[in-house]
Subunit: 339 residues, 2 copies
């Protein structure tokens, strides 16, 4: 057992609607030891991702909820400081599900070694990690953009959206982003190279989006839902593909939107335009992980794929940074620096 | 020009909600002549299909609406009585889009010869025609039922639904039908061999469907929409596939269902269960026509695929039969016998 204490953030109570600081509690415990086959990791970066909101609820989903009093789940990169696994050495940098805490004892079989010389290690949580793979696999398997087609993605300056649009451009498609501020939109166009980006808070958002997509929309990468989706729906072309990987606009909702029930409109659009909607999570395409990481690293290497991180400093900042993420307050991939 | 008159049913006014007899008008005109490259066909059977309701409206869809005063569109089989096309001879039986009339001048290139010795010619409008192909291509390309999976289809005694369930059985899946009366359900189970069939008018319909699908639903072939869909949705398994080929419950709707807006629920289900919804019309898979017809004819030949027709006698009966079809009053593939 290592000396010192392990700071961790546990779920104090389940959020109703928007999470509030009081749903979280910063506690201290003993630093755990690595059990048989385990490694002890000093977490250096914690990833903050919208899916975590779902884990804080106890509604049925594709994964178990976090228990009250339990450490909130999350991907981490860190340094191995103790090892009972032959394949992992002290000093290795590893990616794992260390959670919202400073130290984690993880199964040696369930961590992945990261080469810190290839790229900043935090990218293993973003462009070279789950968000990057989500963008890659969702486009490759479901979106399937062709040269000349129009790809639209919301949260375009975020961890997933920024990669979606850039891959679309690499594939020869037109990339139109949607983001929550003019500053984000400028970054998306000027730095990431999207063809256009529309601020969804603009009063004429729908008109602007239609003008930015004069040939309609062939792929809408859905990570937001809500009102943005309702604006996109009438612009979809026949045979459009809609990978559904997130619905951040819904996560804090405590009641359904008022009527009428637009399900009938959606189903009719699916029928008459022959749309494909397909939900996925990145692990559905786990077998493509090596391929995805190789492609993403290649594009970073040749300068065709850029990324931006939104770094909060210290574990105690995690709840506030997460609450902000759900409101779109981040600008780039949200991570927390722990050491 | 042939002698005599051509009876035809034209669209007198666009239906608002349910079509009524006064939306249709039976008129007489001259029998047309076959122009260059055309054939003149004496229609023997007219197909009645739910999609026709869409053509009577002027809402944007995948096909042009019927003009006011125009002959209502529809597939027909009939005998060629005049030919200006080298590939088609007088006396041939052909399938074409002859519409709601007794005689039609059709492009010789756009009719298909039918062998009247293989099966009753009316089957070219049903099990061996567009409805059969819709079932076949929707299952093959989108539903993709695997042995042991559960396939649910509504309008199970109808032209498409009856074929969907029987193909599912042939593929080794479990077939559960939904129909509008106990009599239809008995036919679906006893004659068509479905594993179960539930009457959607039963007060405990949702409970009965859940009991008939103890392992959930892997494929829901959507041709109905509305309340049936809302009952099916919570029973869908992870990775379920939903081919969307029709929404007959919506076609007569004049306003959207009252709220709340359940779109958010549907999108969440798509995400967390990783569902695939894909709309299609049979012509999207036109290149599979020969394959589909061969397979369907083979199954009819070996007794594994059965069909039932609901025949109305005389063109003047077509409006009433069509109005009835939209209410589920038919029992089997709806056709009108014209001669």
């Amino acid at each position: 057992m290592a000396e010192g204490t392990n700071k961790k953030v546990v779920l104090k109570s389940r959020p109703v609607g928007e999470p509030i600081p009081d749903n979280f509690e910063l506690v201290e415990g003993a630093i755990p030891s690595a059990g048989d086959g385990q490694v002890l990791v000093r977490n250096q970066f914690l990833s903050l991702d919208p899916y975590m909101r779902g884990r804080m609820s106890d509604a049925k989903s594709y994964a178990e909820p976090v228990a009250i009093g339990g450490v909130i789940v999350g991907a981490t990169v860190g340094e191995v400081i103790q090892s009972n696994h032959a394949g992992v050495a002290i000093g290795d940098t590893v990616l794992g599900f260390g959670g919202w805490q400073e130290f984690a004892a993880l199964e040696g079989d369930e961590v992945q070694k990261i080469n810190p010389d290839l790229a900043p290690i935090s990218t293993a949580l973003g462009v070279l990690g789950m968000p990057g793979m989500t963008a890659y696999t969702g486009l490759k398997n479901i979106g399937q953009p062709k040269a000349g087609e129009t790809v639209v993605v919301a949260a375009a300056s975020g961890a997933v959206g920024s990669v979606v649009g850039q891959i679309a451009r690499i594939e020869g498609a037109k990339a139109v982003g949607i983001a929550g501020s003019d500053e984000k939109c400028r970054f998306v166009v000027d730095e990431l190279g999207f063809d256009a980006c529309i601020n969804h808070n603009a009063p004429d958002f729908a008109d602007q989006l239609a003008k930015a997509c004069p040939d309609g929309i062939d792929v809408y990468f859905e990570n937001v839902g809500g009102e943005v989706f309702q604006v996109v729906l009438p612009l979809l072309n026949d045979f459009a593909r809609i990978p559904v990987c997130g619905l951040i606009a819904h996560y804090n909702a405590t009641e359904l939107p008022k009527g009428p029930d637009m399900t009938a409109v959606l189903m009719r659009q699916i029928l008459v335009k022959r749309l494909t909607f397909r939900g996925f999570i990145v692990w559905d395409f786990a077998e493509q992980e090596a391929e995805a990481k190789k492609a993403l690293a290649g594009w970073i290497g040749d300068g065709s794929l850029k990324y931006k991180e939104h770094v909060s400093d210290g574990l105690e900042k995690a709840p506030e940074a997460f609450i902000d993420l759900l409101k779109g307050g981040n600008f780039g991939k949200a991570v927390v620096k722990l050491t």
